[in-house]
Amino acid sequence: MNAKELKAERVRLFRDAANFKKTERIPHFANVVTWKVFDAGHTLDEAMTNFDVMEECVLHFLDKYPIDGILDVGIRNQFNVTEAFGEGGYYYYDKEVIGIHDHAHCTPETLLEYLDDPIKYAWEVILPKKYGESWEKKDKAIWKNTFKEYMAYIKFILHMAKVMDRYGLPGLSPNNPMKGAVVPAVEIMMSDLLGLQQFSVAMRRSPELLDTFIQRWEVERMEPIYQKIRDAKGPNYKYCFDSSILMLAHNMMNKKQFERFYWPYLKKLLDVYAENKMNIRIFTEGSVLRLAEYFKDYPKGLLTFHIEQDDPFEFREALPNVAIMGGMTTDLLSNGTPEECVAYAKRLCDELGKDGGFIFSENKMVSYRNDARSENMLAVNEFVRDYRI
């Protein structure tokens, strides 16, 4: 089988699993991000600003663990562009750790101003605040150097797409940063615009403001997306899924808040995907089981939840109509033996995948050195690849 055929075969495996069709084997989607840097014998600081080192780490991973899909091929955490521009980023890294500081681009008073014109707001408010006095001192030479690094970054992204092709690896979904991801209003408010703290307070003290933002977001951002989904006229079989959405803000909401700020809009999006018989993956960070009732009436095939903290067996019982991605805990990959990991992987495949509806993956984004032991990753990858139910 050549790389092109292998890619098509893998897409079929993912789609069949999502559609609850029994597959000859369970596909393994690697929810692996920066752990591959450590596994290749490097430290984060060596790979984050050097495309050659990052590519070496990615190739090392793909050669060692022949997975069917992967979240990141080294393009997500690169710092060349921001470092060329100077100090002041929210992201930080050292040899062992990468992280992000909670940040807020807006206050409740300026939230709607952002919506009026995001580029203008970024230029006049966010960037001056972020870079402080040095913003005014960004001269032509700094901008030119930043642009040069930015072009190199884009070239790297395109290069790594070819690497994916060479390994017969399909992309997760058509979303990409160039086109703009499908981001529910509450998620962008919590992650970037208001930050965790202001968002929590605003849900209680300024609910009408959030309603206004969400309704404008719906009309200005989501309506064109609904139209694009309808125009697509069905699934895009170049990818594992037709869309990948991230849910995190629900963890900060009680049911009443979820029903007001999140569910009506998420439902509308899911209904449009359902009308077009598409497969979508939702990475449900934290836990989503307490909200199971909202998702129980969707037909099999529409939803695949990549679960993080929820127990996969309880999840299957609560939502038998939703395919499961994940299951393999980083806790076991990190602290267990290869035998224990394989025994658990077998249980996952046998109990969740016997009639389709299961994609093997790690429950958390595997990022830090101790998130997994190499021998455990190797053992489960080999097992899942060879196992036939």
Partner: protein
Amino acid sequence: MSWKIGRKTDMSKKYTSYPEGYNRVARDIIPWYMRPVKDMLMRLLITILVDG
């Protein structure tokens, strides 16, 4: 954390008016042969600088 690209601020909306400084930078740094995609390039660059 959840990783950079997964959380990019959505700057895809069409602008209404570019600030003067923005236009000057775009003129300074984008070569002539990339001008047809100038707005897309600038939007993504600003997104990286805002979120990174």
